[in-house]
């Protein structure tokens, strides 16, 4: 929680009671302590410019300047994932900044060939969504075998197969140490320290400069553990509230987020990690629980299985929830040629909301049919929404047809409007004399069939 200028002033030499002998000394370069405080609040000055601020004030100021949820980075030689630093409980209040990291579990009991294949499949998985490449973020290698040699070999196999960030999962410090030794080139997240093993785990994390997961089944238990581990010198922490099911997970993650943001309660000011497969009865329920945790406050989500039919909806959900609500993704208005259209190719019109555009463009591209796609400036709204808001009316469509100069690119005078705005037909005929207005289907998916029969 950022402090105001006046709150900062009360901690500076001129603002404390009684004032410090060096109050308003100007050595910081500002005329008074109050002026310096205002600059600090505006982040236009550094606290180190004041030589006389007390240690107590320094601690308070640096604590207040830290983000309420610490940013944690899992890095590897190829890719990295950053989570935390969130500032709101609801995306409409501002935005969610760091998309929840999605990782896949790799049990060390799999055969080496299976481990390599799984790691490669996860690393190579990529799916296009409205022009964005969506990918998975990492692997969580778990010491299910309880055997140090097997765990180390699994970590080595994963490292040999891909450059994804890693989580090493075991509560046994000896196993963790064996796995860590093979994680050369990455800074893995160590998972997990508990009330029973935290001293040994904290030492491993500190030596490896690795972030550490703390696991406890209550908020108070987590807060207690973070204080001990921070005192032992490990600052990059991730919380595992070991409450696994739908209800418990939603409530505890909400409580952690609220404590961090509303109370600025430092001991839980860290991102969290979840394991939806531990709270779900089967794969289908795991997917819904993972979805809940993406939307409601998990920083990292470890999936128990890798199945494209499950991963794709989760990645799209994440992209949707973490879209900045102030900036709907838009495409540039104008004329888009699809499949090398000629003079007789159909002319279609739609809005510049990215999802609308991509729905239409993807359909047309995959159909192989050539066409001219006119994109109207509807302020980034979909057809129905833009129509309801008066941003996609006959006048706007006519303006788009005229403004794009499409008349010079084709030898016909026919334009297809979306079925959802069929009511605009009459008005549009008046706005575009000489043009034949054709009403297309409501959904983009039906466009190719429509064009084959009705154009």
């Amino acid at each position: 929680m950022a402090l105001s200028g006046l709150e900062i002033y009360k901690l500076l030499p001129g603002g404390i009671k009684p004032p410090h002998p060096k109050a308003n000394c100007k050595e910081c370069g500002f005329p008074t302590c109050l002026a310096f405080a205002m600059k600090l609040a505006a982040k236009q000055a550094e606290l180190s410019q004041c030589k006389y601020v007390s240690d107590e004030s320094k601690a308070k100021l640096s604590a207040a300047a830290a983000p309420p949820i610490r940013l944690i980075t899992l890095s590897a030689d190829g890719r990295k994932v950053e989570v935390g630093n969130e500032t709101v409980l609801f995306r409409h209040e501002k935005t969610f900044f760091h998309p929840a990291g999605l990782l896949v579990r790799v049990p060390d009991t799999l055969a080496e060939g299976e481990i390599v294949a799984l790691a490669k499949a996860v690393a190579d998985y990529k799916v296009d969504y409205v022009g964005m490449a969506l990918r998975l973020d990492g692997l969580a290698v778990e010491a299910v075998s309880g055997d140090a040699g097997k765990f180390a070999a699994a970590v080595a196999a994963v490292r040999g197969a891909c450059t994804l960030p890693l989580v090493l999962v075991t509560e046994d410090p000896t196993l963790m140490s064996a796995g860590l030794a093979k994680a050369v080139g990455v800074t893995p997240l160590l998972c997990a320290a508990t009330a029973a093993n935290w001293e040994a785990m904290a030492k491993l994390a500190k030596d490896a400069k690795a972030p550490l997961v703390l696991r406890a089944d209550s908020v108070a238990g987590l807060a207690e553990l973070t204080q001990k581990v921070v005192a032992a010198g490990v600052e990059n922490l991730v919380l595992d509230p070991a409450v696994r099911g739908f209800s418990g997970s939603l409530q505890v993650l909400t409580q952690l987020r609220r404590l961090a943001l509303k109370k600025n309660f430092r001991p839980v000011g860290y991102p969290s990690i979840t394991f939806p497969y531990l709270g779900a009865s089967d794969l289908a329920m795991e997917e819904l629980l993972a979805g809940q945790q993406i939307a409601k406050y998990a920083g990292l989500v470890v999936l128990g299985n890798f199945d494209p039919a499950m991963v794709y909806p989760l990645l799209v959900l994440r992209a949707n929830i973490f879209t900045d609500p102030q900036k709907p993704i838009q495409v540039e208005p104008g004329v888009y040629p699809i499949n090398k259209p000629g003079l007789d190719a159909p002319v279609l019109v739609t809005t510049n909301f990215s999802i609308t555009y991509f729905a239409v463009a993807n359909e047309m591209e995959s159909s192989g049919l050539p066409s001219w796609l006119l994109v109207a400036d509807a302020e980034g709204m979909s057809v129905l929404t833009a129509w309801a808001a008066g941003k996609f009316d006959a006048e706007k469509i006519a303006k788009t047809v005229k403004g794009t100069g499409i008349a010079e690119k084709v030898n016909h005078r026919k334009v297809v409007i979306p079925g959802h705005v069929a009511v605009l037909m009459g008005e549009l005929e008046e706005e575009l004399p000489g043009w034949q207005i054709k009403v297309g289907p409501r959904e983009a998916v039906d466009l190719p069939r429509y064009l084959k029969t009705a154009w």
Partner: protein
Amino acid sequence: MPVNVEVPIEKWSGSIRQVTLGATAAEGGTRGHTVTVGGQTTLPFLGFEGKVPNRPVIAVEVRAVNPSEEWPEPLAKAWGAAMNDAAAWAKAAEAAGADLISLQLTTVDSAGKRMTGATARKVLRAVLNATGLPVIVLGTGQAELDNEMLVACAEEGVGERLVLGPCEDKNYRTIVAAALAHGHLVTAKTPMDVNLSKQLTVLVHDMGIPMERIITDPTTGALGYGIEYGYSVMERLRLAALQGDSMTQQPMIVTPGEEAWRAKETRAGEGVPAAWGEWASRAVNWEAMTAAALVESGADIVVMRHPEAVGRVKKMIGELMAA
């Protein structure tokens, strides 16, 4: 050292109105039981903070006429021959775990002719006879036709506490009047906007229908097709309701089934990237994930299509309601 943690609890001044759908014989209808939604005094499923007296429920969409080609194979296969007959379909929906039946009227009848009030009435009667669940009757969005069909249905189902909809800003008077005259409820549907939703609730209420008979439809998009807009509008409506804004305190109904099964991800089995995964399971996941996200953001009634997706979301709701 043990740490004393005080979890922040919001002191909400408002709550969601309780709305009861359906009427039993004792109440003047013929339903086997009634279904009550709403009544929450906190955000979805936050039992540590307030009361969640009624669980969100699932309405299964039953079409007046077999949608045939319009519904893609993984969906059509799930219902099979039951889709030829709304009554048989309603029975199958009940067996699949539906809490409510959402009878979706159509623009043409099974012979391909324009629907009429008389046909709609017959279909509704067959559905009411086939199931003891409370029934929602939704029009097509074409004002003239909807008014004809919904007025006929309101008469046919007198006393059943049906839900009639959608009331939209351009067409609500006839539907609300029919609901008022025959003891039914209405849905008030607006395009993903908090203020438009409030305005329509005011207009509908001004016609004299009690707040306890209005359900809000804030509209949603499918996963990947604008769900984030619906999701956030629902969260904002729910927050406004809990903060005491009376015109946002209606239970919410959304139609994730219809939305999800319009997406290419559910409709296309061929010519799509391998990264999309197997068609049938991806398609069911798409509907289930869309519905689940909306339940988490405050939906009280979700209208769904695929029986497997229905089963999953119902199970999820059960687990979220468990203390």
